[in-house]
């Protein structure tokens, strides 16, 4: 909203607030922390004002007004909690429950259901309705999504997502009035790379992900802000975790990156990320055999290798590693004499979202391609080929080298493997340092547009696994090269000091929404 556009004053529940022209009552209320209940309104979609849940009392208006579409007029006095407003809200909730099966105890959305929340809030524990309920049943819409028609409140959020954002209007309201329900044209299931967003926008348990059906209860999940590692887009997400596992991810709104959406591939990738047997303890090779050890021993061994060597150090890193770990990998190599480093990126088909074109499932199925590049690593289709003939130190960060030949590393002076998973090639390393996934330690990724975005720690790392920015910086500090970075913030701020592209940024400044590297910003500025 342009700052010079006229400003209107409105009073919401006694609190004065100024809003730009065009703002709705609902938006104005949010500015003063008043959250008006709503079902059909979704900030990422058009507002049809059909649920009638958001009605508020406005002085001088003969009827309660729908706050989701009613624009603020100067001097308006709004009451969201007056007797009239509360009665209107109670009415909407009661109506929605008339034909609702009230199967909350077995509903997948229980605990995150807006209907349940408001029914509770309006104190409607007893129903005045004794009539038989309409029974519409359930239907499978996509290979993973089930529709429970009886729970549907016909808010049309799912319809509008497919129409306005996916721009493939396959979901429609069929029939009319109390016979209405949501369906597609045929019995055939539809598939769309962003289909799971309809489950997210559904304010009740009418659309559910079959994978998630009857598994954990929503209220059992801890929520942690994170970044999807599924591709170089860097969608902002909330990880839902329980018993130290990621069970699901939901998009976290960021208008610069993913709006309110994320793709289905990302959801899968997030849940599967880091699956398999993990390396839980550091290991060092002693008389030809790998032996588990503790961190002081392992880091001491690492320090001993970090001296300038004529053949220098090369690195194979991962575009799934954080900026901070990549930075430390680079510093370790620098200490020996950096002779170049590479990483590989898996690719897959792209998929766009026409209603929010900034968001694409990118071909590069890794979150930090740009970060790795900015830190001096080069993308390579064949990372093994890129280090062929190297005789010095090899630092491998989070690439399990599963395609390496059996005799991998015979020529190397020293092979340091920092990773999460064991592999035949990793077993040939001299030092193995267990590291963390994006979910197990905080850090940041730089997305395809050069936007640096932070993720928080959602899980405890297994065993002794620790992020390289902590372990590596400890070893380096012991050699007088920099400080021990006990936080990703410290590591990132040090990185900013050394890599000009990140100039002007700081971990604190990134906040939860991220910020763009200078170069990205300037090229963006040229475009506009």
């Amino acid at each position: 909203m342009n700052e010079t556009s006229p400003v209107l004053n409105v009073t919401i529940d006694g609190i004065q607030v100024s809003v730009p022209k065009g703002a709705t009552i609902l938006e104005a209320a949010e500015r003063v922390g008043v959250v008006i209940p709503r079902y059909c309104y979704h900030p990422g979609l058009s507002a049809p004002a059909v649920c009638r849940m958001c009605l508020v009392e406005v002085d001088g208006a003969p009827k309660p007004l729908p706050s989701c579409v009613q624009q603020v007029q100067d001097g308006m006095v709004v009451h969201t909690a007056s007797a009239e407003a509360r009665k209107a809200r109670r009415a909407a909730v009661e109506f929605l429950l008339v034909n609702h099966p009230l199967d909350c105890p077995i509903c997948d959305a229980a605990g995150q259901c807006e209907l349940q929340d408001y029914a509770f809030e309006t104190g409607q524990l007893r129903t005045r309705n004794i009539e038989p309920k309409a029974v519409l049943g359930r239907d499978k819409l996509t290979p993973d999504i089930l529709y429970f028609a009886d729970r549907c409140v016909l808010c049309t959020r799912c319809v509008r997502f497919m129409d306005e954002i996916a721009q493939e209007p396959v979901l429609q309201v069929i029939q009319r009035g109390h016979k209405g329900y949501i369906d597609t044209m045929t019995d055939e299931l539809f598939e769309h790379p962003f289909s799971m967003n309809i489950v997210d926008v559904c304010p009740v348990g009418a659309l559910v992900n079959e994978d998630f059906l009857f598994k954990p209860r929503a209220w059992d999940l801890d929520q942690t802000p994170s970044i999807c590692p599924g591709c170089s887009q860097g969608c902002n997400v909330l990880l839902g975790t329980k018993e130290n596992r990621v069970l699901r991810a939901k998009p976290r709104p960021n208008n610069e990156v993913n709006s309110y959406w994320m793709c289905d591939h990302g959801r899968q990738a997030l849940v599967n990320w880091g699956a398999g047997d993990r390396i839980e303890v550091p290991m060092i090779r002693e008389s030809g055999r790998l032996a588990p050890t503790d961190w002081p021993q392992a880091l001491a061994a690492l320090s001993r290798t970090l001296e300038a060597r004529p053949a220098g150090a090369r690195a194979i890193v991962s575009a799934g590693a954080s900026n901070e770990s990549l930075y430390i990998a680079r510093k370790l190599a620098d200490k020996v004499g950096f002779k170049g480093g590479v990483f590989r990126v898996e690719t897959g088909p792209e998929a766009g979202l026409p209603g929010f074109p900034k968001l694409r499932l990118r071909a590069e199925r890794a979150p930090n391609v740009r970060g790795a590049e900015l830190l001096g690593f080069r993308r390579s289709a064949d990372v093994l080929e890129a280090i062929r003939g190297h005789k010095g130190v090899l630092i491998v960060l989070e690439d399990a080298l599963i395609d390496a030949p059996e005799d991998f590393g015979v020529e190397l002076e020293m092979f340091i493997y920092v990773g999460t998973h064991m592999s035949p090639a990793a077993r040939r390393a001299d030092i193995i340092l267990p590291s963390t996934t994006f979910a197990e330690a905080e850090g940041s990724f730089t997305n395809v547009e050069g936007r640096v975005q932070r993720f928080a720690q959602a899980l405890h790392p297994p065993g002794l696994a620790r992020p390289l920015w902590l372990t590596g910086s400890t070893a380096l500090a012991g050699l007088g090269a920099g400080a021990v970075y006990r936080t990703a913030a410290a590591a990132f701020d040090a990185l900013v000091g050394e890599f000009g592209e990140f100039q002007g940024l700081s971990y604190a400044k990134l906040g939860l929404g991220g910020a763009s590297v200078a170069e990205a910003e300037s090229s963006a500025a040229n475009v506009s």
């Binding site: 049809p48 004002a49 059909v50 649920c51 009638r52 849940m53 009605l55 003969p62 009827k63 309660p64 729908p66 579409v69 009665k87 209107a88 009415a91 909407a92 009661e94 109506f95 929605l96 008339v98 034909n99 005045r128 309705n129 009539e131 038989p132 309409a134 409140v153 016909l154 309201v173 029939q175 009319r176 009035g177 109390h178 016979k179 209405g180």
Partner: protein, 429 residues
């Protein structure tokens, strides 16, 4: 062939030629003075026409009674975008069948009204949205439209005036809510006939996003008479707030049901008892709905009022569409109300929670009471549901659905109570 039950006390302006088969074809219509008003209109400016209609005090006959000239004056004059006229011929309000008769007997009256009104609002295309069930009527209307094209009353350069107008007859497909003006616009655009949020109003953004005036058939049919004879002539009938004549569709328990056109200061009781002959012999009038099922029910004692908008309102109901439904003492009020509510449940577009759920809930409760399974607490519950449905939705269908329930319980509460207590109907049979 005389139109059934024409009555000397009527003031037949629009219905003058009802029943005359010869008035249907264009020649017969012209012989009866048809299309004279158009000549006069085309010689004047659009704003002059709007002014005459404003001065006449003509109010919309579709139900809301909005002043027609004023509505026209909201239409942009700059011609930056095409303006449209949409004639609302969806007539589906239970008890109402006047537009049907206008189109069936005097299609050219409507067409002439559409042309003059389009001219006044600077429209180049007019649509007549006619309900799909009017199969025989639409054939007559279509024939008349083709004749009007052939005679140069439609098309390019109408009668050498330089004014171009196309008129398209558009058939609905079964939805009462397509009669609500924004539902009509959506339906005309090939969408579900779901009413739109207002603002924007149709004059700002109507059909195809363009400025549009929506008028009822009877409203438009009155326009040629007003233009030809002047505002004062029209004001010889009715009251200052409700000038002119109006068609009343009268049905239910009456000796002579049918359409009657009376001045708007005509007495309602006279309309029922004198013109319509009152209820069948041996029966007493129990209740009357004066303006289609969406207006409050009146008791037989309440009908000593004139039929003007303000007169009926003062007597506790509304003029609405002029669809008069008479119920005699054989009527089961619970059943009658249930039937009307079922109509709204069937016709609710279903967008708004209160309307979608409220209409079907009301119907279920009423069916239960009718079956003899009513409870004491049902009446206050019905009233409260009604209150929760009123004034809270996108369009007034929700309010309309509550009206018969609330007004019947208020005025005929005894019948509901008897039903609940005795478990059956106690109406005279």
């Amino acid at each position: 062939m005389a139109y059934p039950h024409a009555h000397p006390r009527e003031a037949r302006v629009l219905s003058k030629h009802f029943g005359e088969k010869d008035a249907i074809p264009i020649d017969g219509w012209i012989e009866r003075g048809g299309y004279k008003a158009l000549d006069k209109a085309l010689a004047a400016s659009p704003d002059d026409i709007t002014q005459i209609v404003k001065d006449s005090g003509l109010r919309g006959r579709g139900g809301a009674g909005f002043p027609t000239g004023l509505k026209w004056s909201f239409m942009p004059k700059d011609g930056g975008k095409p303006n449209y006229l949409a004639c609302n011929a969806d007539e589906s309000e239970p008890g109402t069948f006047k537009d049907r008769e206008i189109m069936r007997w005097t299609p050219h009256q409507l067409i002439e009204g559409c042309i003059i009104s389009s001219y006044a609002i600077r429209a180049k295309h007019a649509y007549i949205y006619i309900r799909g069930e009017f199969v025989d009527v639409v054939r007559i209307l279509n024939q008349a439209v083709v004749e009007a094209y052939e005679r140069g009353y439609l098309g390019k350069n109408i009668k050498g005036s330089g004014y171009d107008l196309d008129l398209t007859v558009h058939l609905g497909a079964g939805a009462y809510i397509a009669g609500e003006e924004t539902g009509l616009l959506n339906s005309l655009e090939g969408r579900r006939a779901e009413p739109r949020i207002k603002p924007p109003f149709p004059a700002q953004r109507g059909a195809f996003g363009m400025p549009t005036t929506v008028n009822n058939v009877e409203t438009l049919a009155a326009v040629p008479h007003i233009v030809l004879n002047g505002a004062d002539w029209y004001r010889q009938w009715g009251t200052s707030k409700s000038p002119g004549t109006k068609l009343f569709s009268c049905c239910g328990h009456l000796q002579r049901p049918g359409n009657y056109e009376v001045p708007l200061d005509f007495n309602l009781r006279d309309l029922v008892f004198d013109l319509c002959g009152g209820p069948p012999k041996g029966r007493q009038l129990l209740a009357l709905i004066p303006g289609g099922s969406s207006v409050p029910i009146m008791t037989a004692d309440e009908i000593d009022c004139d039929v003007s908008y303000e007169g009926i309102e003062a007597a506790g109901s509304m003029l609405g569409s002029g669809g008069l439904i008479a119920m005699d003492d054989s009527t089961c009020m619970v059943r009658a109300v249930r039937r009307m509510v079922e109509f709204y449940a069937h016709e609710s577009c279903g967008q708004c929670t209160n309307c979608r759920e409220g209409t079907s809930w009301l119907a279920k409760i009423l069916r239960r009471i009718e079956r003899g399974q009513g409870r004491e607490e049902d009446l206050p519950l019905l009233l409260d549901i009604g209150a929760n449905m009123a004034g809270k939705t996108i369009c007034p269908l929700s309010d309309s659905a509550a009206v018969p329930v609330v007004s019947a319980i208020q005025k005929f509460g005894r019948e509901f109570e008897a039903h609940i207590q005795d478990g059956r109907c106690t109406a005279v049979n």
